[in-house]
Symmetry: D2
């Protein structure tokens, strides 16, 4: 008996649920949970099923594809730990939260390595017997720096996601394109607000009563990729911008870990710069 | 072309989704949205589908029942305004919120009448051209009082829900049984805390930092029926119990209106003193 | 025995609390509550005290001013109902919430009138025996329209606040300047996000997971006045922009009523496009 | 120039603020922030001031005590790292969050040691070069076990707080009395709900839509000490009790860290089984 996550992304038409559930039925699979969504505006159909039964993964995938339109995307995934690469700069809170969750067994993930442009977090990461790679950006141009990072990433073999846990360098379009829908970032603001440098200072000067954070996939619109999760906290006039930044760290780590968990459990569909999350 | 809400409550077994979706497919129905849940502990299956197509309501209901196990509950509901009776005592906030939402067209409901044991809210209710019935409990025993209320309820014909918008009298087991799963109450606490009289005073004396409210169906366990919706707000030491009560009113009205909306849209299944909400 | 709210807004210097509390002590006043805040960046001091005792309001005000620097603002206010004018367009939810709270006695306010550019809300407002004035903007230029509104406002005598309960016309700089720090608006977004037309549609297209609302004083930066209160709710992919708009209404009414309550209780200081709220 | 936190806990009477602020003024101290609260029911006055200036700590304390009633409690505290002892059992999440915050420099604390009745968390704690003491409860009676723990605590010298980061043994009344108002616990429920064993299972069976956690000082009413902080999250029917437990961990760690931070910053007053938090 195996368990599979089946993810279907299709143009909507009548009978999709019928066709897929008939495949499950004929293969004698048990549906443990099932979520569907139709976006009427774009006429897109999304379905995520958790099934178990005695079936070969490829056979299941083929059987589903056979009954669905040609341009449908079907993924059949066996639940198992995914490989992730974390990139960070100097701040400890978001990375630390992931390390502790990993240590506690809360994440379906192997952390292959942490790559940083500074060595500041090395001693922390080494405590957890995880490789730490410092790729300094000093004295090299952006392209050279990134190529070194890519080389480092490649040296760890296949991976599923790159998690930017407060990696404070802007990535080149080439880098982003290479790893499309694979890079998860935490933005220190609730998009689409205060884009750019020091959003906490901007928020302070604006006199906001709420601050937040946004986890999103990175694409080539700066800070503008598909949003996965957002959260906020209330602040008041007594918060300096540094107080906001401190409180913001708590939101940032919560939101990034939440987004990572959703990705690891294959709960996210990306389309039209948006996400469907089951 | 008609739209239907299909609600299915069955013992779980393999193939239920397949069978139902095949019925939809064969009847040429379009699935607009679809939610399912299996409670593994009790082996119960719940499904709510929104479909449209050219089909007779009874024919659809029969077709579904035909393919499902005998003890399955199937409801096919055409979206339309439901009839509700509101019961209140003296407090205005929860009733007022419902009246304003009704006036704004936010509720799929006709308010047949407001029944109260006091006349205090009469002038408010009359502003909205809704019948107001005062059934005083003074000088009569509980059974007689309730019988008068039941007579009043019956005089308005068929109804779908009784909404207790801060009705502060305890209902008899007979009353509750008569209208099982039809009475929605707002409890001035987040269950299961501070059951009984003046929960805000109890909360104050306990020094809580959070207060809340719970909307639930009424059954014969006092304040213990199936929970539909809950919400909280933060308080601090500067709140007297009357301040908590005032702030609590805002939570109460929000939660009751949310629960009512869920009921009116046929989104609630009740089982084992719990709810499944799609 | 009278109760007073004392509001002090001064440039910070040593001894301010000492000086003010000495005045209270010498006048034999009891401090019921006391809040202070120093903004170190702008070197501003804010204090709000609730005191009671047997003293004349003017005498108290003079006594405080005497001991404080010349450019200090001192307000001594007797708690009593303030006069408010509400402006609305066609939407009922925010206005309705204020009307119900007013009816329930929750607001320290007399509603002098509701002024709208449409007659749509007239029947609702009239239910509550509150004057409703339709000042149509059709066929007249902006200045003429506003002058008619100003004439209408003036006809009701002194007032403390104008509440824009979803008034959907842009006010001229002249209007805004005339009533500086007296106009409270509810913005259908959590500032500084999605400024401009149809923020819900923008939010939907951006795929946000949170929507919110902002109550603020109106100044001559469109949607950019000092923020009083903000709140958010979570949404997901299943929300169309109209669903977001519907859910947004609930946030809007909560936030506007919260801001109005703060203003009526003299809890807000405005400075540098920000607010201090005690 | 030194900075001091001044905490005053007195029976309320006229002139307290005046008297204290006069002391500050005469000593030429600058008030950086100031909070007061009067509990009218119990006639208690609480004040926390942050001041700086050129004064001796003892001189400041004496000067304040001199002008206040005899039974007043006055604390003058220089901000510096406090010493804490953490007690845990087997769960990693709450302890891990504190360790990471400590590592990030977010806590004004030295962690003297982690004491546990199991060795399960030893390797984690040792990563951070913090002493870990296993005091097994097996084969010894409760009193003997606790005496060993007390011996271990004593071996680390003076400490300010004991943090129970999911320490799952009931403490004896003697232990609790010895460290009155010094033990901070995280309770896996939002009090006063579901007291006792497996609250998540109880919550699941009750069908709640909200779960939460409570940080409180421990006294001799089981789970009933003065509440410091509470937080909740929303759940739904799809959560098994194990899912609730997992989600609950996130709330637990957030609330415990928040409470610890408040304690370390001397922001908490305890009285009548409640807290005042500035």
């Amino acid at each position: 008996m195996s368990q599979f996550r089946v993810l279907i992304d299709a143009n909507d038409e009548k009978g999709l649920v019928h066709k897929v559930s008939t495949v499950f039925y004929n293969l004698n699979l048990n549906i443990l949970s099932n979520s569907e969504f139709v976006d009427k505006e774009s006429n897109k159909f999304f379905m995520r099923s958790l099934v178990d039964g005695d079936v070969d993964k490829r056979a299941l995938s083929s059987a589903i594809k056979e009954v669905l339109p040609l341009d449908t995307t079907v993924k059949v995934i066996e639940p198992k730990k995914k490989n992730i690469i974390i990139m960070a700069t100097k701040e400890l809170h978001a990375l630390g939260d992931i390390l502790i969750r990993h240590e506690a067994g809360e994440l379906e993930a192997n952390i292959l390595a942490v790559i940083s442009n500074y060595d500041k977090l090395e001693s922390l990461v080494n405590k957890f017997d995880i490789p730490y790679v410092t790729v300094s950006h000093e004295g090299v141009d952006r392209e050279t720096h990134e190529q070194k990072i890519i080389d480092s990433i490649n040296s760890y073999g296949d991976f599923d996601y790159i998690v930017l846990a407060k990696y404070m360098r802007i990535l080149t379009p080439q880098f982003v394109e290479t790893y499309e829908d694979k890079i998860i970032n935490i933005h220190h603001s609730f998009l689409p607000a205060f884009i750019g440098a020091n959003p906490y200072k901007q928020a302070y000067e604006r006199g906001v009563k709420i601050i937040g954070a946004t986890a999103h996939f990175v694409n080539n619109n700066l800070d503008e990729g598909p949003i996965i999760a957002q959260e906020v906290i209330h602040v008041d006039h007594a918060y300096s911008w540094k107080d906001m930044q401190k409180s913001g760290k708590d939101v940032e780590k919560v939101v990034l870990s939440r987004a990572l968990k959703l990705a690891l459990e294959d709960r996210i569909f990306v389309y039209e710069n948006k996400t469907v999350i089951f």
